[in-house]
Symmetry: C2
Subunit: 501 residues, 2 copies
């Protein structure tokens, strides 16, 4: 019996998936293991395999097979076909010359950005960033035409399939309205609390690592299918059955590595929980960046910065670093106060939970206006600073601390920023639904028992892979469409003294 | 101007080379970093990329281009064309079904071998090993027909391009004649020496590693283009500009890791010394297994087990492990006695320098007879044991310590064994030529100055890559064809008390 078009497609996409797994390991190795002298050679290998994947994806036979392939509606097979078509449309809609021009513009701009950021010199970056923006707009237009989407939605769809500006705008408008008040309220509440008291270091790296592994394992990370290592910029990477997270240690402060490990473990648990029978195929992959970020933020923000979690780890921390229970900085009260401290600042990646969305709102508003063409790029610094002033009440002193701080725009990642806050919103919604569904989930945390939580996530999120849209997964898991209700309640409870955690 | 056939070929082979670099990192990661649960997924990725390389190599256009491509005789370009043709002939001469049948037979036999070796049960392995042998003979015949070679030479050519049985037979016949007498003489000489006195451990792994890195660096290993890590079976792997060696540590004995690091550093220096302008292309690769092994054995056997080297590292060892100079086991005399100890035994990989070739001679004679069909496979154990009896005077008590000890035959690596001893012979010849060429080379060793030695190797061996045949490189470097003269002199001097080192 001849193979069906569907079977031909799955064989072809599985082959692409196996090369992507190779790329995952090569990318991880580049950031964690590779000696500096191998950078050029590695870039060549990665480029060769990336071009190969792109060529396989845009092979003319793929379009023919997609036209002929069939699968019963509502099945995983149908979702698999849908994802194959989506991947093909994204790749095949862009002429090779535009792919190359975009990639070259971004590479050049990214290099120049490192200097421009250091010098706070936006004018120096403007021509190259303008080039990136123009190529990105072209890309957005041709992809949008192929996908039947507005240009910005086509960019967004690369990172967060199915999410549209029309979904984001009302959510972010609501946040923009409420956030300044919420932050003010949080700061007022914080003023009534005792001052933050940090335990005194140094905190040996070996102890931080051992504790990190203990917490990873408690959260459900499978060490036989992943690793923990060190890199300059923490990330979760690797390949299927091989989720590799990284962190960096500071022996003067154990919290960044600790919370970083929890955050990346959230990402890795998602990857480790994808359904084995669909691995290597498009439908078996994680759904998108919002959902991915929801899993890391659920673990870091919803769980690890909650009081029950701090109650569990406070004694482990004292044991790890040989501190006395009576040492005031090591009490669960003091640690909880530290991990929920509110401190508006200029740098997004250093922001606390409640001021973080302000950074995202500013970037989202600016990048949509830049793609629409309603904001001239030369006006970006003023507009950026105005946004920070409006939302955080801070005067940005220079572009290094302002619009030059992130690599996203110079590197061509437009449409990415909103997924951070969408993820934070979904994290709260998932946490609430999980707690409502099974009382053992909340009860387990203070004992370090996360098995009930993981079981719920496995069934309702991880195991769904890309079978449904993000909104579809959220609705099936929580019984409601994506909403900021749980997120806003969570922020008020934690930061405004209105609730138990 | 259209690209020439030669340029088309170099582009195509460079692309293959970049995928091979990716495979090098994936293979290293598999043995050093990969969590156990990723084994299947990784095997899939490696198989996909290997098939891809094979498909690219056997692409019908390659044959056409090779027919049309031209390069002036005697140039690197001509050698590059020659190597491209060789790679293409090896790959394209074998029908895909035979590649697959051989690979499957070897995979099955390798798995069964692990059990059969443990149980010393040759009869249990016989049917599967017979299958591997039959497939290997078929492969040898079809490759031989394409390459114009006898079957065994075609196998040998896979590992050691250009080396023929007619080159090996007289060399090995000479060794077979002299070796038993030489070993007896060495044992008699050893009986006149004081007993071996091993320093008492434990030897902390951190100290062993620090010292290993120090010695690697002294030998000329470029840490910006390579790594040192730990694996169960030490090896040198990685990719271009990224030579990665591994070792394993035993805190009861520092010598295996120390000598292992030196050995693998020899391999890595060869890789790091290949000419940058030909990297990724066939002519820019290392020449073959004999020459590769000559570089590791030159460093380990010719240099690191010599008296001047021991004089240099004895104080470093005492410093590393906090030993007193007066401690008798730590004197240079005692250490030299230890690293040159002769102990005939059953296991090839544990053999000392002078008994090692006996293990190789036995295997070479048996594998040529098996490929020729003059030895029935069922008679292998008796023939193996007879060989060990003849050359080492030992009675092999079971097949675990006899013909089942090595993975080579079960895994399909026939024609590989002789390269170990060919490498040892060339190592001695290179060392002698280097010492003769520049007095600073020998003088530097006792001071830990290996720069003059490395400079000679860079010019005469590493930098030649695959521009000439192995014999051509040896002749150009040493002024003489490959010969056992230096090797036999070296063994007599070191082990029979006839010389200075």
């Amino acid at each position: 019996m001849p193979q069906s078009a569907y079977q031909d497609l799955t064989s072809h996409f599985a082959r692409i998936g196996r090369i992507r797994n190779a790329l995952g390991i090569l990318g991880w190795d580049k950031d964690v293991m590779m000696p500096s002298g191998a950078a050029d050679s590695r870039a060549d290998s990665i480029a060769t395999l990336s071009v190969l994947c792109h060529d396989m994806l845009t092979d003319p036979r793929v379009g023919d097979l997609l036209d002929r392939a069939q699968a019963p509606a509502g099945t995983w097979e149908a979702a698999n076909l849908h994802e194959m078509r989506r991947a093909w449309l994204h790749a095949a809609s862009v002429p090779a010359e535009l792919v190359e021009a975009s990639s070259r513009a971004a590479s050049r701009c990214e290099v120049a950005w490192r200097t421009a950021r250091r010098d706070g010199d936006f004018a120096a970056l403007l021509p190259l960033l303008s080039d990136v923006l123009e190529r990105t707009r072209e890309l957005a237009i041709v992809k949008g035409a192929a996908l039947g989407l507005a240009p910005y939605d086509a960019l967004l769809d690369q990172y967060d399939p199915g999410t549209r500006r029309a979904d984001i705008d009302p959510v972010f408008a609501e946040l923009r309205r409420d956030l300044p008040g919420l932050i003010a309220e949080a700061q007022a509440h914080q003023a009534t609390l005792p001052p933050v008291e940090m335990p005194a270091g140094p905190f040996p790296v070996a102890g931080q690592e051992t504790l990190g592994r203990r917490i990873m394992t408690a959260l459900g990370f499978d060490m036989a299918r992943g690793r923990l290592d060190v890199s300059i910029h923490p990330f979760c990477g690797g390949a299927e059955d091989d989720a590799r997270i990284t962190t960096r240690y500071d022996d003067a402060d154990f919290l960044p590595a600790l919370m970083g490990v929890v955050h990346e473990t959230g990402h890795a648990l998602y990857e480790q929980g994808l359904p084995a029978q669909w691995r290597t195929l498009p439908v078996g992959q994680s759904r998108g960046m919002s959902l991915h970020e929801s899993q890391s933020l659920l673990m870091e923000m919803q769980i690890a910065r909650s009081r029950p979690f701090i109650d569990w780890i406070a004694p482990l921390l004292r044991e790890t670093f040989g501190a006395a229970k009576t040492d005031p900085g090591w009490s669960a009260d003091a640690l909880y106060r530290t991990v929920t401290q509110v401190r508006p600042g200029f740098i997004r990646v250093d922001a606390d939970e409640i001021t973080y969305p302000a950074h995202v709102l500013v970037r989202y508003e600016l990048e949509t206006a830049l793609i629409d063409g309603t904001l001239p790029l030369r006006d970006l610094p003023d507009a950026f600073n105005a946004g920070i002033r409006d939302l955080l009440g801070l005067e940005v002193p220079n572009d290094r601390l302002g619009c030059l701080q992130d690599i996203h725009w110079p590197s061509g990642a437009w449409g990415y920023f909103p997924t951070y806050t969408l993820g934070a919103i979904l994290a709260a919604q998932f946490r609430q639904a999980a707690f409502d569904a099974d009382p053992a989930i909340a009860q387990g945390i203070a004992r370090g028992d996360f098995a009930p939580l993981l079981a719920w996530l496995r069934t309702h999120v991880h195991g769904q892979a890309s079978r449904l849209s993000t909104a579809g997964i959220v609705a099936a898991a929580t019984g409601a469409p994506p909403s900021t209700r749980a997120y806003r309640a969570h922020l008020r409870e934690r930061y405004c003294g209105t609730g138990p955690h």
